[in-house]
Protein backbone atom coordinates (compact mmCIF):
# COMPACT_ATOMS: atom_id res chain seq x y z
CA UNK A 1 0.00 0.00 0.00
CA UNK A 2 2.07 2.86 1.28
CA UNK A 3 5.15 3.44 -0.89
CA UNK A 4 8.33 5.33 -1.22
CA UNK A 5 8.51 7.89 1.53
CA UNK A 6 11.88 6.20 1.63
CA UNK A 7 13.49 8.94 -0.40
CA UNK A 8 12.44 11.54 2.12
CA UNK A 9 13.54 9.18 4.86
CA UNK A 10 16.96 8.80 3.32
CA UNK A 11 17.29 12.52 2.71
CA UNK A 12 16.33 13.15 6.31
CA UNK A 13 18.76 10.62 7.70
CA UNK A 14 21.47 12.10 5.49
CA UNK A 15 20.66 15.54 6.85
CA UNK A 16 20.74 14.09 10.34
CA UNK A 17 24.07 12.40 10.01
CA UNK A 18 25.45 15.64 8.60
CA UNK A 19 24.02 17.68 11.44
CA UNK A 20 25.32 15.13 13.93
CA UNK A 21 28.81 15.22 12.42
CA UNK A 22 28.86 18.97 12.10
CA UNK A 23 26.95 19.84 15.26
CA UNK A 24 28.07 17.74 18.17
CA UNK A 25 31.55 16.31 17.86
CA UNK A 26 31.19 14.54 21.18
CA UNK A 27 27.91 12.97 20.14
CA UNK A 28 29.23 11.65 16.86
CA UNK A 29 32.16 10.03 18.61
CA UNK A 30 29.85 7.95 20.78
CA UNK A 31 27.37 7.28 17.97
CA UNK A 32 29.11 4.52 16.04
CA UNK A 33 30.08 2.53 19.12
CA UNK A 34 26.63 1.20 20.07
CA UNK A 35 25.70 0.77 16.42
CA UNK A 36 28.78 -1.36 15.76
CA UNK A 37 28.41 -3.57 18.78
CA UNK A 38 24.73 -3.98 17.94
CA UNK A 39 25.57 -4.99 14.38
CA UNK A 40 28.43 -7.29 15.26
CA UNK A 41 26.86 -9.28 18.05
CA UNK A 42 23.69 -10.56 16.38
CA UNK A 43 25.59 -11.18 13.13
CA UNK A 44 27.53 -13.89 14.95
CA UNK A 45 24.47 -15.34 16.59
CA UNK A 46 22.69 -15.27 13.25
CA UNK A 47 25.26 -17.61 11.77
CA UNK A 48 25.21 -19.96 14.74
CA UNK A 49 21.59 -19.85 15.94
CA UNK A 50 18.53 -17.61 15.52
CA UNK A 51 18.46 -14.43 17.57
CA UNK A 52 16.69 -14.63 20.91
CA UNK A 53 15.91 -11.06 22.00
CA UNK A 54 13.97 -10.55 25.21
CA UNK A 55 12.13 -7.50 23.93
CA UNK A 56 10.98 -6.64 20.41
CA UNK A 57 10.06 -3.10 19.40
CA UNK A 58 7.34 -3.20 16.79
CA UNK A 59 6.48 -0.14 14.72
CA UNK A 60 3.16 0.57 13.08
CA UNK A 61 0.89 3.44 12.07
CA UNK A 62 -2.37 2.78 13.87
CA UNK A 63 -4.79 4.79 11.76
CA UNK A 64 -5.64 2.11 9.25
CA UNK A 65 -8.47 -0.21 10.25
CA UNK A 66 -8.69 -3.19 9.99
CA UNK A 67 -4.88 -3.58 9.71
CA UNK A 68 -3.95 -1.45 12.74
CA UNK A 69 -6.09 0.95 14.71
CA UNK A 70 -6.89 2.23 18.20
CA UNK A 71 -9.90 1.03 20.16
CA UNK A 72 -11.10 1.52 23.71
CA UNK A 73 -10.90 -1.85 25.40
CA UNK A 74 -12.54 -1.64 28.83
CA UNK A 75 -11.95 2.11 28.70
CA UNK A 76 -8.24 1.58 27.98
CA UNK A 77 -6.66 2.82 24.74
CA UNK A 78 -5.46 -0.30 22.88
CA UNK A 79 -3.89 -0.85 19.46
CA UNK A 80 -5.42 -3.81 17.62
CA UNK A 81 -5.75 -5.16 14.09
CA UNK A 82 -4.45 -7.90 11.80
CA UNK A 83 -0.87 -6.61 11.78
CA UNK A 84 -0.83 -6.22 15.56
CA UNK A 85 -2.04 -9.81 16.08
CA UNK A 86 0.76 -11.02 13.80
CA UNK A 87 3.30 -8.93 15.74
CA UNK A 88 2.21 -10.58 18.99
CA UNK A 89 2.63 -14.03 17.41
CA UNK A 90 6.13 -13.13 16.17
CA UNK A 91 7.10 -11.99 19.67
CA UNK A 92 5.54 -15.09 21.23
CA UNK A 93 7.48 -17.43 18.93
CA UNK A 94 10.73 -15.70 19.89
CA UNK A 95 9.78 -15.74 23.56
CA UNK A 96 10.10 -11.94 23.64
CA UNK A 97 8.06 -9.15 25.11
CA UNK A 98 6.40 -6.86 22.53
CA UNK A 99 6.56 -3.07 22.67
CA UNK A 100 4.35 -1.20 20.19
CA UNK A 101 5.47 2.13 18.75
CA UNK A 102 2.73 4.03 16.91
CA UNK A 103 3.73 6.84 14.55
CA UNK A 104 3.16 8.33 11.10
CA UNK A 105 3.59 5.81 8.31
CA UNK A 106 6.16 8.03 6.58
CA UNK A 107 8.65 7.61 9.41
CA UNK A 108 8.44 3.86 10.00
CA UNK A 109 11.07 2.67 7.51
CA UNK A 110 13.46 5.43 8.67
CA UNK A 111 13.06 4.21 12.25
CA UNK A 112 13.65 0.56 11.38
CA UNK A 113 16.72 1.51 9.31
CA UNK A 114 18.11 3.43 12.28
CA UNK A 115 17.59 0.42 14.52
CA UNK A 116 15.05 2.17 16.75
CA UNK A 117 12.45 -0.38 15.70
CA UNK A 118 13.08 -4.11 15.40
CA UNK A 119 10.40 -4.67 12.80
CA UNK A 120 7.54 -2.87 11.07
CA UNK A 121 4.16 -4.24 10.07
CA UNK A 122 1.85 -1.62 8.61
CA UNK A 123 0.18 -3.22 5.60
CA UNK A 124 3.41 -2.27 3.81
CA UNK A 125 3.58 -3.98 0.45
CA UNK A 126 6.79 -5.14 -1.14
CA UNK A 127 8.11 -2.85 -3.90
CA UNK A 128 11.56 -2.53 -5.50
CA UNK A 129 12.08 0.88 -3.86
CA UNK A 130 11.32 -0.41 -0.39
CA UNK A 131 13.38 -3.57 -0.91
CA UNK A 132 16.35 -1.28 -1.53
CA UNK A 133 15.89 0.43 1.84
CA UNK A 134 14.89 -2.46 4.12
CA UNK A 135 14.45 -6.23 4.11
CA UNK A 136 11.06 -7.87 3.74
CA UNK A 137 9.69 -11.14 5.06
CA UNK A 138 7.41 -13.43 3.10
CA UNK A 139 4.04 -11.88 2.32
CA UNK A 140 1.54 -12.69 5.06
CA UNK A 141 -1.74 -11.67 3.53
CA UNK A 142 -3.35 -11.57 0.13
CA UNK A 143 -5.01 -8.19 0.16
CA UNK A 144 -7.98 -7.19 -1.96
CA UNK A 145 -6.75 -5.22 -4.98
CA UNK A 146 -7.00 -1.43 -4.64
CA UNK A 147 -10.39 0.07 -5.49
CA UNK A 148 -11.68 3.48 -6.49
CA UNK A 149 -14.13 5.20 -4.17
CA UNK A 150 -16.42 7.86 -5.67
CA UNK A 151 -19.62 9.65 -4.77
CA UNK A 152 -22.63 7.43 -5.38
CA UNK A 153 -24.31 10.20 -7.39
CA UNK A 154 -21.43 10.17 -9.89
CA UNK A 155 -21.00 6.39 -10.00
CA UNK A 156 -22.31 5.93 -13.53
CA UNK A 157 -19.70 8.34 -14.94
CA UNK A 158 -16.93 5.86 -14.25
CA UNK A 159 -16.84 2.71 -16.39
CA UNK A 160 -13.12 2.30 -17.12
CA UNK A 161 -9.79 3.64 -15.92
CA UNK A 162 -9.75 6.13 -18.81
CA UNK A 163 -12.75 7.92 -17.33
CA UNK A 164 -10.47 9.40 -14.65
CA UNK A 165 -8.51 11.44 -17.21
CA UNK A 166 -8.79 15.08 -16.29
CA UNK A 167 -10.32 14.26 -12.89
CA UNK A 168 -8.79 14.98 -9.49
CA UNK A 169 -7.99 11.65 -7.87
CA UNK A 170 -6.80 11.30 -4.29
CA UNK A 171 -4.47 8.71 -2.74
CA UNK A 172 -2.37 8.35 0.37
CA UNK A 173 1.13 9.90 0.16
CA UNK A 174 3.93 7.40 -0.29
CA UNK A 175 1.67 4.45 -1.08
CA UNK A 176 1.33 2.23 -4.10
CA UNK A 177 -2.11 3.72 -4.62
CA UNK A 178 -0.40 7.05 -5.19
CA UNK A 179 1.59 5.38 -7.97
CA UNK A 180 -1.63 4.17 -9.57
CA UNK A 181 -2.88 7.74 -9.64
CA UNK A 182 0.36 9.40 -10.77
CA UNK A 183 1.56 6.62 -13.08
CA UNK A 184 5.16 7.58 -12.30
CA UNK A 185 6.36 4.02 -11.57
CA UNK A 186 5.10 1.63 -14.25
CA UNK A 187 7.12 -1.25 -12.84
CA UNK A 188 5.28 -1.22 -9.49
CA UNK A 189 1.88 -0.13 -10.79
CA UNK A 190 1.50 -1.39 -14.38
CA UNK A 191 -2.17 -0.46 -14.40
CA UNK A 192 -2.39 3.24 -13.69
CA UNK A 193 -4.35 6.33 -14.56
CA UNK A 194 -3.18 8.72 -17.24
CA UNK A 195 -3.97 12.38 -17.17
CA UNK A 196 -5.53 12.34 -13.70
CA UNK A 197 -4.72 15.25 -11.38
CA UNK A 198 -3.16 13.56 -8.31
CA UNK A 199 -4.08 14.83 -4.83
CA UNK A 200 -1.82 13.15 -2.27
CA UNK A 201 -2.57 13.37 1.47
CA UNK A 202 -1.26 11.54 4.52
CA UNK A 203 -4.41 10.12 6.10
CA UNK A 204 -7.27 8.19 4.57
CA UNK A 205 -9.86 10.11 6.57
CA UNK A 206 -8.70 13.40 5.04
CA UNK A 207 -9.00 11.88 1.56
CA UNK A 208 -12.56 10.80 2.27
CA UNK A 209 -13.36 14.34 3.49
CA UNK A 210 -12.02 15.69 0.20
CA UNK A 211 -14.29 13.31 -1.67
CA UNK A 212 -17.40 14.06 0.39
CA UNK A 213 -16.90 17.81 0.04
CA UNK A 214 -16.24 17.55 -3.75
CA UNK A 215 -12.58 18.57 -3.55
CA UNK A 216 -11.57 15.42 -5.44
CA UNK A 217 -13.61 13.29 -7.84
CA UNK A 218 -12.32 9.91 -6.70
CA UNK A 219 -10.01 8.28 -4.15
CA UNK A 220 -7.91 5.13 -4.68
CA UNK A 221 -7.78 3.01 -1.51
CA UNK A 222 -6.96 -0.52 -0.44
CA UNK A 223 -9.90 -2.74 -1.38
CA UNK A 224 -10.84 -3.60 2.20
CA UNK A 225 -10.67 0.04 3.28
CA UNK A 226 -12.67 1.33 0.29
CA UNK A 227 -15.41 -1.24 0.92
CA UNK A 228 -15.61 -0.22 4.58
CA UNK A 229 -16.00 3.47 3.74
CA UNK A 230 -18.68 2.65 1.17
CA UNK A 231 -20.53 0.70 3.87
CA UNK A 232 -20.32 3.40 6.52
CA UNK A 233 -21.14 6.37 4.29
CA UNK A 234 -24.22 6.01 2.10
CA UNK A 235 -23.06 8.87 -0.16
CA UNK A 236 -20.04 6.87 -1.32
CA UNK A 237 -19.65 3.84 -3.58
CA UNK A 238 -16.90 1.64 -4.99
CA UNK A 239 -16.46 1.79 -8.78
CA UNK A 240 -17.23 -1.62 -10.31
CA UNK A 241 -15.38 -2.93 -13.32
CA UNK A 242 -12.18 -0.91 -12.93
CA UNK A 243 -9.46 -3.49 -12.24
CA UNK A 244 -6.33 -1.88 -10.80
CA UNK A 245 -4.46 -5.16 -10.27
CA UNK A 246 -2.46 -6.13 -7.22
CA UNK A 247 0.48 -3.87 -6.38
CA UNK A 248 2.64 -6.12 -4.22
CA UNK A 249 1.74 -8.05 -1.10
CA UNK A 250 2.15 -6.81 2.49
CA UNK A 251 5.26 -8.03 4.35
CA UNK A 252 7.01 -7.64 7.68
CA UNK A 253 9.99 -5.25 7.37
CA UNK A 254 13.31 -5.32 9.22
CA UNK A 255 16.47 -3.23 8.80
CA UNK A 256 18.48 -3.85 5.64
CA UNK A 257 20.69 -6.95 5.90
CA UNK A 258 18.64 -8.10 8.92
CA UNK A 259 21.43 -7.18 11.41
CA UNK A 260 19.46 -8.60 14.34
CA UNK A 261 18.82 -11.94 12.64
CA UNK A 262 15.05 -11.77 13.08
CA UNK A 263 13.86 -12.74 9.61
CA UNK A 264 14.19 -16.57 9.88
CA UNK A 265 12.01 -16.60 12.96
CA UNK A 266 9.54 -14.08 11.47
CA UNK A 267 9.18 -16.16 8.31
CA UNK A 268 8.66 -19.31 10.40
CA UNK A 269 5.88 -17.55 12.31
CA UNK A 270 4.22 -16.43 9.07
CA UNK A 271 4.44 -19.98 7.69
CA UNK A 272 2.86 -21.35 10.86
CA UNK A 273 0.05 -18.76 10.89
CA UNK A 274 -0.71 -19.33 7.19
CA UNK A 275 -0.76 -23.12 7.70
CA UNK A 276 -3.07 -22.79 10.70
CA UNK A 277 -5.35 -20.40 8.84
CA UNK A 278 -4.82 -18.00 11.76
CA UNK A 279 -4.36 -14.96 9.50
CA UNK A 280 -7.94 -15.19 8.26
CA UNK A 281 -9.16 -15.55 11.84
CA UNK A 282 -7.17 -12.45 12.86
CA UNK A 283 -8.66 -10.52 9.95
CA UNK A 284 -12.19 -11.52 10.96
CA UNK A 285 -11.49 -10.49 14.56
CA UNK A 286 -10.04 -7.18 13.44
CA UNK A 287 -13.04 -6.54 11.19
CA UNK A 288 -15.40 -7.30 14.03
CA UNK A 289 -13.53 -4.91 16.36
CA UNK A 290 -13.55 -2.20 13.71
CA UNK A 291 -17.28 -2.63 13.09
CA UNK A 292 -17.88 -2.47 16.82
CA UNK A 293 -15.86 0.77 17.04
CA UNK A 294 -17.83 2.31 14.16
CA UNK A 295 -21.13 1.19 15.71
CA UNK A 296 -20.25 3.18 18.83
CA UNK A 297 -22.52 1.06 20.98
Amino acid sequence: MKNNKKILGLALSAALSLSLLAGCGGGSATTPAPAESKGAEPAQSQAAEPATPTKLVFGTSADYPPFEFHILKDGQDTIVGLDVSIAYEIAKDMGAELEIVDMNFDNLLTMVTQGNLDFVIADTESTPDREAAADASKPYYEDLAPMVLVKKANLDQYKSIDDFTGKSVGAQTGTNKALIVTGEDEETAPIHMTGANPVLLTTVGDLVNQLVYDKVDAVVLDGAVAVKYAQTNSDLAVVEGVELGSVGLPCVWVAEGDPKGLLPSINATIDRLLAEGAIDTFMEEADALSSEAIGLD
Partner: protein
Protein backbone atom coordinates in the same frame (compact mmCIF):
# COMPACT_ATOMS: atom_id res chain seq x y z
CA UNK B 1 -38.84 21.62 17.35
CA UNK B 2 -36.61 19.34 19.40
CA UNK B 3 -37.78 16.37 17.34
CA UNK B 4 -36.68 18.14 14.19
CA UNK B 5 -33.24 18.82 15.65
CA UNK B 6 -32.97 15.24 16.87
CA UNK B 7 -33.93 13.91 13.43
CA UNK B 8 -31.42 16.25 11.74
CA UNK B 9 -28.68 15.10 14.13
CA UNK B 10 -29.51 11.41 13.69
CA UNK B 11 -29.37 11.80 9.92
CA UNK B 12 -25.88 13.34 9.83
CA UNK B 13 -23.43 11.37 7.71
CA UNK B 14 -19.98 10.21 8.85
CA UNK B 15 -18.26 13.10 7.08
CA UNK B 16 -20.53 15.79 8.54
CA UNK B 17 -19.05 18.70 10.48
CA UNK B 18 -21.33 18.21 13.47
CA UNK B 19 -21.61 14.44 13.80
CA UNK B 20 -20.45 14.14 17.42
CA UNK B 21 -21.77 10.61 17.86
CA UNK B 22 -18.29 9.46 18.87
CA UNK B 23 -19.02 11.11 22.20
CA UNK B 24 -19.15 10.26 25.05
CA UNK B 25 -17.44 6.94 24.33
CA UNK B 26 -14.29 8.43 22.81
CA UNK B 27 -14.16 11.50 25.05
CA UNK B 28 -11.19 10.01 26.88
CA UNK B 29 -8.94 10.64 23.84
CA UNK B 30 -9.82 14.33 23.99
CA UNK B 31 -9.43 14.58 27.77
CA UNK B 32 -5.98 13.00 27.64
CA UNK B 33 -5.22 15.10 24.58
CA UNK B 34 -5.99 18.36 26.40
CA UNK B 35 -3.82 17.32 29.34
CA UNK B 36 -0.98 16.30 27.03
CA UNK B 37 -1.17 19.52 25.01
CA UNK B 38 -1.23 21.75 28.11
CA UNK B 39 1.59 19.85 29.79
CA UNK B 40 3.69 19.98 26.62
CA UNK B 41 3.12 23.71 26.05
CA UNK B 42 3.60 24.86 29.63
CA UNK B 43 6.73 22.78 30.23
CA UNK B 44 8.21 23.84 26.87
CA UNK B 45 7.73 27.57 27.47
CA UNK B 46 8.98 27.33 31.07
CA UNK B 47 12.07 25.44 29.91
CA UNK B 48 12.63 28.07 27.22
CA UNK B 49 12.79 31.03 29.64
CA UNK B 50 16.32 30.62 31.06
CA UNK B 51 18.05 29.87 27.70
CA UNK B 52 16.04 32.68 26.14
CA UNK B 53 17.22 35.18 28.76
CA UNK B 54 20.81 34.09 28.14
CA UNK B 55 20.33 34.41 24.38
CA UNK B 56 18.81 37.86 24.78
CA UNK B 57 21.66 39.09 27.00
CA UNK B 58 24.19 37.58 24.57
CA UNK B 59 22.40 39.35 21.74
CA UNK B 60 22.77 42.67 23.59
CA UNK B 61 26.42 42.04 24.35
CA UNK B 62 29.13 44.25 22.85
CA UNK B 63 31.30 41.21 22.05
CA UNK B 64 30.70 40.43 18.37
CA UNK B 65 31.45 36.73 18.76
CA UNK B 66 28.92 36.20 21.60
CA UNK B 67 26.41 38.35 19.74
CA UNK B 68 26.94 36.25 16.60
CA UNK B 69 26.35 32.89 18.30
CA UNK B 70 23.08 34.07 19.74
CA UNK B 71 22.07 35.69 16.47
CA UNK B 72 22.80 32.51 14.52
CA UNK B 73 20.78 30.36 16.93
CA UNK B 74 17.80 32.68 16.74
CA UNK B 75 18.05 32.94 12.96
CA UNK B 76 18.18 29.17 12.46
CA UNK B 77 15.25 28.39 14.75
CA UNK B 78 13.08 31.22 13.49
CA UNK B 79 13.72 30.57 9.80
CA UNK B 80 13.11 26.81 9.57
CA UNK B 81 9.83 24.92 9.95
CA UNK B 82 9.08 23.52 13.41
CA UNK B 83 8.22 20.13 11.91
CA UNK B 84 11.72 19.81 10.45
CA UNK B 85 13.33 20.87 13.74
CA UNK B 86 11.20 18.30 15.55
CA UNK B 87 12.14 15.52 13.11
CA UNK B 88 15.85 16.33 13.29
CA UNK B 89 15.86 16.31 17.10
CA UNK B 90 13.75 13.17 17.32
CA UNK B 91 15.60 11.12 14.70
CA UNK B 92 19.01 12.67 15.37
CA UNK B 93 20.10 13.00 19.01
CA UNK B 94 17.17 10.98 20.34
CA UNK B 95 17.92 8.09 18.05
CA UNK B 96 21.22 7.74 19.92
CA UNK B 97 19.82 8.57 23.36
CA UNK B 98 17.38 5.72 23.99
CA UNK B 99 14.85 6.84 26.56
CA UNK B 100 12.93 4.14 28.41
CA UNK B 101 9.23 3.78 27.64
CA UNK B 102 7.69 4.98 30.89
CA UNK B 103 4.09 6.10 31.03
CA UNK B 104 3.61 9.26 33.08
CA UNK B 105 0.01 9.59 34.42
CA UNK B 106 -0.76 6.44 32.43
CA UNK B 107 -0.75 8.09 28.99
CA UNK B 108 2.28 10.37 28.61
CA UNK B 109 5.04 8.25 27.07
CA UNK B 110 8.32 9.77 28.34
CA UNK B 111 10.37 8.44 25.41
CA UNK B 112 8.43 10.71 23.06
CA UNK B 113 7.35 13.48 25.40
CA UNK B 114 10.92 14.49 26.28
CA UNK B 115 12.14 14.86 22.65
CA UNK B 116 8.95 16.79 21.93
CA UNK B 117 9.44 19.13 24.89
CA UNK B 118 13.09 19.71 24.05
CA UNK B 119 12.35 20.50 20.39
CA UNK B 120 9.54 22.89 21.30
CA UNK B 121 11.65 24.50 24.04
CA UNK B 122 14.62 25.04 21.69
CA UNK B 123 12.29 26.57 19.12
CA UNK B 124 10.45 28.65 21.69
CA UNK B 125 13.65 29.96 23.26
CA UNK B 126 14.51 31.67 19.97
CA UNK B 127 11.19 33.51 19.95
CA UNK B 128 11.23 34.24 23.69
CA UNK B 129 14.79 35.58 23.35
CA UNK B 130 13.49 38.18 20.91
CA UNK B 131 10.66 39.01 23.32
CA UNK B 132 13.23 39.54 26.08
CA UNK B 133 15.50 41.59 23.87
CA UNK B 134 12.66 43.85 22.78
CA UNK B 135 11.48 44.14 26.39
CA UNK B 136 14.96 45.13 27.61
CA UNK B 137 15.52 47.60 24.77
CA UNK B 138 12.15 49.21 25.50
CA UNK B 139 13.45 50.31 28.90
CA UNK B 140 14.75 53.84 28.49
CA UNK B 141 18.51 54.01 28.05
CA UNK B 142 18.66 56.70 30.76
CA UNK B 143 17.81 54.06 33.36
CA UNK B 144 21.08 52.23 32.78
CA UNK B 145 23.01 55.52 32.67
CA UNK B 146 21.43 56.54 35.97
CA UNK B 147 22.27 53.17 37.50
CA UNK B 148 25.88 53.43 36.33
CA UNK B 149 26.24 56.99 37.64
CA UNK B 150 24.98 55.79 41.02
CA UNK B 151 27.95 53.43 41.08
CA UNK B 152 26.23 50.18 40.12
CA UNK B 153 28.17 47.82 37.87
CA UNK B 154 26.80 46.99 34.43
CA UNK B 155 25.48 43.62 35.63
CA UNK B 156 23.96 45.17 38.79
CA UNK B 157 22.32 47.82 36.66
CA UNK B 158 20.87 45.15 34.40
CA UNK B 159 19.71 42.93 37.29
CA UNK B 160 18.44 45.58 39.70
CA UNK B 161 17.22 48.39 37.43
CA UNK B 162 16.62 47.38 33.82
CA UNK B 163 15.32 43.79 34.08
CA UNK B 164 12.64 44.55 36.72
CA UNK B 165 11.25 47.24 34.44
CA UNK B 166 11.56 45.00 31.39
CA UNK B 167 9.42 42.33 33.05
CA UNK B 168 6.40 44.58 32.60
CA UNK B 169 6.97 44.61 28.84
CA UNK B 170 7.90 40.95 28.70
CA UNK B 171 5.17 39.17 30.67
CA UNK B 172 2.22 39.78 28.33
CA UNK B 173 4.25 38.80 25.27
CA UNK B 174 5.48 35.71 27.10
CA UNK B 175 1.92 34.71 27.92
CA UNK B 176 1.05 35.19 24.26
CA UNK B 177 3.90 32.85 23.37
CA UNK B 178 2.25 30.23 25.59
CA UNK B 179 -1.05 30.67 23.77
CA UNK B 180 0.77 30.29 20.45
CA UNK B 181 2.55 27.20 21.76
CA UNK B 182 -0.75 25.51 22.65
CA UNK B 183 -1.72 25.73 18.98
CA UNK B 184 1.72 25.14 17.45
CA UNK B 185 2.41 22.08 19.56
CA UNK B 186 -0.22 20.21 17.55
CA UNK B 187 2.60 19.45 15.11
CA UNK B 188 4.03 16.82 17.48
CA UNK B 189 1.22 14.54 16.33
CA UNK B 190 3.39 13.70 13.30
CA UNK B 191 5.74 11.77 15.56
CA UNK B 192 2.99 9.96 17.42
CA UNK B 193 2.96 12.20 20.48
CA UNK B 194 -0.53 11.87 21.82
CA UNK B 195 -1.71 15.46 22.00
CA UNK B 196 -5.17 16.83 21.28
CA UNK B 197 -4.83 16.71 17.48
CA UNK B 198 -3.52 13.15 17.70
CA UNK B 199 -6.61 12.22 19.70
CA UNK B 200 -8.83 13.76 17.02
CA UNK B 201 -6.99 11.92 14.25
CA UNK B 202 -7.19 8.62 16.09
CA UNK B 203 -10.91 8.93 16.76
CA UNK B 204 -11.48 9.94 13.13
CA UNK B 205 -9.65 6.91 11.77
CA UNK B 206 -11.17 4.41 14.21
CA UNK B 207 -14.79 5.54 13.92
CA UNK B 208 -14.77 6.57 10.23
CA UNK B 209 -16.33 9.85 11.42
CA UNK B 210 -13.76 11.84 9.52
CA UNK B 211 -14.42 15.53 10.16
CA UNK B 212 -16.28 16.16 13.41
CA UNK B 213 -13.39 15.05 15.70
CA UNK B 214 -11.28 17.86 14.22
CA UNK B 215 -14.15 20.31 14.68
CA UNK B 216 -14.32 19.29 18.33
CA UNK B 217 -10.54 19.72 18.64
CA UNK B 218 -10.85 23.21 17.16
CA UNK B 219 -13.60 24.09 19.65
CA UNK B 220 -11.42 22.85 22.51
CA UNK B 221 -8.38 24.83 21.33
CA UNK B 222 -10.59 27.92 21.14
CA UNK B 223 -11.98 27.32 24.62
CA UNK B 224 -8.43 27.13 25.99
CA UNK B 225 -6.89 30.01 24.06
CA UNK B 226 -9.65 32.61 23.97
CA UNK B 227 -10.09 32.92 27.76
CA UNK B 228 -6.31 32.79 28.12
CA UNK B 229 -5.80 35.73 25.75
CA UNK B 230 -8.57 37.67 27.51
CA UNK B 231 -6.85 37.05 30.86
CA UNK B 232 -3.56 38.28 29.39
CA UNK B 233 -5.26 41.46 28.16
CA UNK B 234 -6.64 42.05 31.64
CA UNK B 235 -3.20 41.63 33.21
CA UNK B 236 -1.72 43.94 30.59
CA UNK B 237 -4.29 46.65 31.42
CA UNK B 238 -3.56 46.23 35.10
CA UNK B 239 0.18 46.62 34.48
CA UNK B 240 -0.29 49.73 32.34
CA UNK B 241 -2.12 51.47 35.16
CA UNK B 242 1.11 52.88 36.57
CA UNK B 243 2.03 54.42 33.22
CA UNK B 244 -0.84 56.90 33.11
CA UNK B 245 -0.19 60.31 34.51
Amino acid sequence: MFDAIAAWYAGLGPASFFNFKFLPKYAVYFVHGIEYTLLLSVVSVLLAIIPALLLALMRLSKNRFIKGISGAYIAVFRSTPLLVQLSIIYFGPFSVIRLPVVQLFGFVDISRFIPGVIALALNSSAYVAEIFRAGILAVDGGQMEAARSLGLSKWQGMKLVVLPQAVKNILPALANELVTMVKESSIVMALGMQDLMWGAKTVASTTYITLAPYVLAAIIYFCINFPASKAIEAVERRMRRGDQR
